[in-house]
């Protein structure tokens, strides 16, 4: 009887500072788009950022872009290698799809004008204008990278206001949101997503621009390292994605695969194959790849005189079965494949890519970032290191990060804040947005439609600092 829950009408909103206005949080990234209502703990809508183009059709849903039977299916990504929007038309449609398919009512308008198809129906534009826009009742909070261009930012508010009819809009930096998601307003945020790894200092919810560091040692880079590993291992590992296999029989470890291949009567595009290969690699990253987190670095020698790599070799390996049934044990390689993240000399060479520089490694980025801020902030920042992004889920990542940081700053107290839940780590910046968007005190921050109409798109640069 004592545990009678509070009815929601008597929930003390004042205490928690919450006041929901059904805001929608949109957190687009290179690998996925996260969208959901503010105040919830996970995004309701989660889609891959990849979309398909087949002839004049644009395909968004997860089921369809992995369908090899669709003819001439090309896979694209609206984001650039820097994790910022490159193709605005596609991005707008993708995000709209993410929002309307799960969050707001999905009004299937005239197929020629609903934006999901080709856009040659200018004639019908006027009719579409009268139509209800998808976000008319929902303020929109969007995230962006710290290095987003001013033009891109203005484009975001234009889309929110013009295309979606938002009553209010806000553009927040995803690292700041990740810090909020971890409950910090002052933090050193280390975000390893798919396209970029970034390190920056946040003070009172504001990015310190001189501390922003980014490099490419993120998920896609790990994938390229894995590919390089497959190509250079003995015997060479042939990466065959699932859709190409019609049947397979189990084989012993190391034995050649025994599988029958699927035949398609149309040509499968390279981009589709790359996407499907990436799925296999993702699986490999999640289940096999591991960050060396023993003393010092993988390629250094243990005080006892034995190289660390020998110790690692003595540890039990991990077996991975490829879609074609071939499987093999991965020993020290499963660690050396991500060692380049910490030690540029350990990076595997990737054909067509410049070699990694020291400045691109995570320890160097942390060092550069910390030295770009005022002395008085550093201690507090090192005690609030927030780790976010999907690639930080690599096994052993946080331990290694801690080791490296303790080595760099032996006198300082270092505390790493890494969400234990996979979802919270992957959706860190979305969760922060969800918190911010549901705060009662945030209502005075929104850029309202009226302000947008008065000052134009440049208001976003003035307000969202």
């Amino acid at each position: 009887m004592a545990s009678q829950p509070l009815t929601s009408s008597m929930q003390p909103t004042d205490v928690y500072g919450g006041d929901e206005v059904s805001a929608i949080i949109l957190d687009p990234g290179f690998s996925s788009v996260r969208a959901g209502f503010a105040g919830e703990d996970t995004p309701k809508s989660f889609y891959t950022s990849y979309y398909g183009v087949a002839g004049d059709r644009t395909i968004f849903s997860d089921e369809d872009i992995h369908n090899p039977l669709i003819k001439d299916l090309e896979i694209r990504n609206p984001m650039s290698k820097d994790g910022v929007v490159e193709d605005w038309d596609a991005a707008t449609q993708l995000w709209e799809y993410a929002i309307t398919s799960r969050l707001t009512k999905f009004k299937q308008g005239d197929p020629r004008t609903n934006g999901l198809n080709d856009k040659d129906a200018d004639v019908e534009m006027d009719a579409a204008e009268d139509e209800e826009k998808p976000l008319e009742e929902h303020p929109l909070l969007m995230t962006e990278t710290a290095w987003n261009s001013s033009k891109n930012r203005e484009k975001s508010i234009e889309i929110a206001m013009e295309n979606w009819g938002c009553p209010a809009f806000w553009l927040a930096r995803n690292s700041v949101m990740a810090a909020f998601g971890a409950g910090r307003a002052t933090a050193l945020v280390i975000d390893l997503g798919a396209s970029t790894a970034s390190v920056m200092c946040i003070h009172d919810g504001l990015i310190l621009k001189k501390s922003v560091q980014k490099s490419n040692v993120a998920g896609n880079w790990v994938s390229s390292q894995v590919r390089s590993l497959f190509n250079n291992s003995e015997p060479k590992v042939e990466l065959i994605p699932h859709y190409m296999i019609s049947a397979k029989t189990p084989v012993d470890a190391g034995a050649p695969a025994q599988a029958t291949f699927q035949n398609f009567d149309h040509k499968i595009s390279d981009s589709f194959r790359a996407l499907e290969e990436e799925r296999v690699i993702s699986e490999f990253k999640e289940s096999v790849v591991q960050v060396y987190n023993g003393p010092n670095r993988l390629n250094s020698t243990h005080p006892s005189g034995i190289p660390n790599i020998e110790n690692v070799k003595a540890m039990p390996g991990r077996v991975f079965e490829f879609p074609d049934g071939s499987n093999q044990m991965w020993g020290a390689d499963r660690m050396s494949v991500v060692e380049g993240m910490w030690d540029e000399r350990a990076a595997l060479p990737v054909a067509g890519e410049p070699a990694l520089t020291k400045a691109q490694t995570i320890p160097e980025m942390v060092k550069a970032s910390i030295s770009g801020v005022d002395m008085d902030l550093r201690a507090a920042l090192l005690q609030n290191v927030v780790v976010t992004g999907g690639t930080t889920l690599l096994q052993g990542f946080t331990d290694r990060l801690h080791n490296e940081m303790v080595n760099m700053y032996p006198g300082a107290r270092i505390k790493i804040q890494a969400a234990g839940l996979t979802t919270e780590r992957r959706f860190g910046s979305w969760v922060g947005g969800s918190i911010l968007g549901s705060l009662g005190t945030f209502h005075q921050m929104w850029i309202s439609r009226k302000e947008y109409e008065e000052f134009g798109a440049s208001v976003v640069d003035k307000r969202c600092k």
Binding site: D19, S22, H203, K209, S211, M375, Y409, G440, Q444
Partner: protein, 536 residues
Amino acid sequence: MTSHDVRDMLDLPQEGTPRPTKKQKLNGPRPVLKGLAREVQNLGGDNPIAIVPEVTVFKKRRFATRKPAAKWDARPFKNSARQDGLILRHWRRKDDKPAAPTVDGEGEEKKVEEIEDSTFAKYNVQVNIPDYTDEEYNLRLQNQEWTKHETDYLFSLCREYDLRFPVIWDRYEYEPPIPQPSEGDAAENAGALIVPPKTRTVEDMKARYYSVAATVMALRKPPIKMNSAEFNLHEVMLNFNPAQETARKKFAETAFHRTKDEAAEEQSLLLELKRIMARADKLGEERRELYARLEAPPSNGNIAPYTTSQGLAQLVSQLASADRSKKHRKSLMGGETMSPATGPNTSTQQPYDRRESSVRESISGPSGLNNKKGSSQNPTERRQLTEEEERIYGVSRHDRIGTSGPAFRQEKILKPLQSKSAVQQQKITNVLNELGIPYSASTRLIMPTAEVGEGFDALLHSINNLLDARKLVDKLQGEIATAKAVRAERERVERERGEGGAEVKREEGVGIAESRKRSASVMSAASDRSGKRLKK
């Protein structure tokens, strides 16, 4: 299966040990069961089966009241902290507000009027950044280092970032006004190419802001009229010292970039410091205790048995046995065994290199007191005092200890006094008091150093002389008085009896002898009286 059967199988005597009590106990609380439950219970015989009571209601259904579901509506609200009157909607219980608007026609306007304000608007607080006019600037705020344009820029940033100086410094991108306005578009490029005239540090900015803010504050309200909070703020801003801040930061920075070794060294130094502090505390404690012991009133009178070394030894053993349980007392007796080398932390000190130990020596003082290395090699070796130190501490050397054995200096000082009779002591005390040396048998000298002791001895000696002299004076005066009295008497007698007889003369002689005896007692009484007078 009952216990009876078990006994049977194991060939144990039947009912070797009767257990009636247990049976009774079991029968007592057994619940009254019915039907199947009772049958199940009976299966257990005299070893009842433990049956977990069945819980029929796991969770009460919460539909006790059959009220209709509460109605909610998305109620619009505004936030008075905003200027643009943005109206957002949040969900609120409908019955919070009676009389739901049913008529749509004119209700529209009404609704807008009664729109509620966000409860969070009150949290919209702003930092108060002072404003200055052109005139004020020209009169009071001119500065060699800062143009007005740049000061304005700094203040705009302060306003924008609510005085978060690390952020202001981070975002500070001042560009001096460029004559050609066509460059405005490519401002970003220009900023990157033209090196800004001055790179400002956080301290520069703070110094400028505080000085301007303090001046403006004083302009608006003279410091005399300020309330204490304002005055304090004014003082703090006025006293900002950028050089000191810069030095502090530099210091912090070097501390921040310590190497691993340095960090370890600092760690060990801190540890050492902690230990020294702990030792100092303990020493203080022991010293206090020692004083307490010394200050205990020697009222128990007779200390004679303890003035010899055997007596003292006996006392020590007596005390030791009395409180052997108290550890720190023991440490007081055997201070030498508590040398730092055997301290609990020594083992952790081992791995550090030589460099650290040199540092440790340096902090323990140039004289090498508590030098761990030395004492660990030879724990009995003692520090040699210099001559001067010996003098300061009042160390004196003796070929052999006198027959009375060692004694406290205090006692030695008191001895000549205590050996005197009570009357004498009283007299000496009186003289001392007269001299302004507060002294009584129960107090002790404030600083009984050797020198003071000698001085005191000399003083006592003089006092004795004085007292002797006074005694002599008194005695002589008495004799003179007697002689005078005798002479007067004799003259009177001669006058009365001119012829005089030898008989009378003899009688007189006896009388004189008698009167002399009497005079002695009179004298002592007189001196006593004089003593009393002195005392006053």
